[in-house]
Symmetry: C2
Subunit: 316 residues, 2 copies
């Protein structure tokens, strides 16, 4: 597949505007003081479905021609992309089918059901998920919309960066979490053209440092089955996202689990915002590398706020 | 003391503007659907010190003449008012003295210390707190700034309503939590003149239904020592706040503890905002009285976000 371009990000912004929130950018003088830097938090935790994923899913769904769209869309995911695709499909009035592992938390199953998607359960291994997804696509003609390695998904995720740049055009750098790399590569695409002097950086859990290892390796490494509190960042880069990250991202930081949890709690306490652990890697990267960020103006994307409130990582 | 007026609220807004945040008003389509109404949440949990209390404290501190101010301010409180007064005094460059019960949670003591106030500990009974506060005022000449029953404090709290009205001028009603009644009476003062057709309502825990009982009684009843998850709403109305509430508030709802906790959790889950239990009474009042609020446009003040994250009310 062809790599998406800056023009694709602009087109995505136009296409999804009626369907998503323009999220606020927030600041915290207390956290700035701790960081010795000026931080600008793009609050995608306040986005529809509680995560930036609605941007890419909406762009992919609304970019389909009418004939393809009528056959519906399908994906396999147990996370925010599943809910996002379900809502985007409902907005377009087309069927959404989602393959979820039999072990998915009931709260996530309910969210996807709530948006009207048809759920197929499978064994919780990636071969079973992919096979079930392919079978449904074959049988129904539904278009497969993968969670990150897809030009329209990447371009859609890049639209958060357009809004951030519009509000704060003079950032020294922007950091996003990195799992499959959809958000990171979309952000890099946006800044490459808009503000080439602004460095785009990624952050990932040390326990799932697949982007770091992929860049060393010269090609995406397999994710394996890492254990990390960042449940949104257990995947590795894809073929498309790897190429954009390799080209346009200046640094990837790998963060210790304890530092992730401390940064997550800091945002809850000081900013009164609920963010997922997966968001907190980006702030942790700034706090753990003061020499790199001293006196800089740093954009941070808070990617999502879907947390199981009965199982907080700091409550034993 | 004289009752504050609408003009005092306007003057307060002018006076405190450089020192506080103009907080956002947020909405949630999911909660609107549950309520069968349109809700507009004024997010004072995102205010400085994490609560609306900074408005009244700042107004009281900056309204002092230079000579009085130089002697400093003093209060007794273990809650958000203590932190607010400490920060307001630091902004004006004058001493703040706070009497806190020996049993106050260390996180609250640290917050007040962090803003540079001088803390005096006393026995955790109100007579001891008042005596210690009076002794300090006598000895140092500091001006006593009580948490709610004071014209400048009431007028300051009313400024949140000015901002809400500015953004959404066509609300059918506005509900705030009610403890001592500073916010409720300030809000009522603002709407009485700005939009007399907008009903102003209060909500309090059933376990500490002192406003309801005071209104029945025809004068403020004593608070006693109620047990409720709403730690900010354990007080009763004061002499000034009672008179304004009696004159200008249309209804006060008393809410069950379980309903408070459900509404608190609902805001965390659906809006990704951290709010105190004390905030949640207002939303609970709407959700538990659907006949009263159907199809209405309802303003709700989310009063604060200072929560002990190690002790959430739904975690056993």
């Amino acid at each position: 597949m062809q790599l998406p371009t800056f023009e694709d990000v602009l087109a995505a912004a136009e296409r999804i505007r009626p369907h998503i929130h323009r999220t606020p950018v927030m600041t915290s003088s207390a956290i700035d003081e701790m960081a010795g830097a000026s931080l600008f938090f793009k609050c995608e935790n306040l986005q529809k479905v509680g995560a930036f994923k609605i941007r890419g899913a909406t762009n992919a769904v609304f970019a389909l021609d009418d004939e393809s769209a009528a056959r519906g869309v399908v994906t396999h995911s147990s996370g925010n992309h599943a809910a996002a695709l379900a809502l985007a499909a409902r907005k377009r009035g087309i069927p959404a089918r989602v393959v979820m592992p039999r072990t998915a938390p009931s709260v996530k199953v309910k969210a996807v059901e709530g948006y009207g998607a048809e759920i197929t359960f499978c064994e919780p291994v990636s071969e079973a998920r992919e096979a079930a997804c392919a079978e449904i696509a074959e049988r129904t003609g539904s278009v497969v919309i993968p969670p990150f390695d897809h030009p329209h998904v990447i371009a859609g995720q890049g639209t958060a960066a357009l809004e951030l740049h519009d509000e704060y055009p003079d950032l020294d750098c922007v950091i996003t979490p990195c799992g499959g790399g959809g958000l990171l590569s979309g952000t890099a695409l946006a800044y490459e053209t808009l503000a080439p002097a602004t460095k785009v950086m990624g952050a990932e859990p040390l326990a799932a440092n697949t982007a770091t290892r992929s860049l060393t390796n010269g090609a995406p490494v397999a994710a394996g089955n890492p254990t990390t509190v960042c449940d949104g960042l257990r995947t590795s880069l894809g073929q498309l996202t790897y190429r954009i990250v390799e080209r346009a991202v200046s640094d990837v930081f790998a963060i210790d689990e304890g530092d992730v949890i401390c940064s997550m709690r800091l945002v809850w306490e000081r900013m009164k915002l609920i963010i997922e652990a997966s968001c907190a890697v980006a702030l942790a990267a700034v706090l753990k590398n003061p020499d790199r960020f001293a006196d800089r103006r740093v954009g941070i994307v808070l990617t999502g706020g879907n947390v199981d409130l009965d199982r907080l990582p700091w409550v034993v």
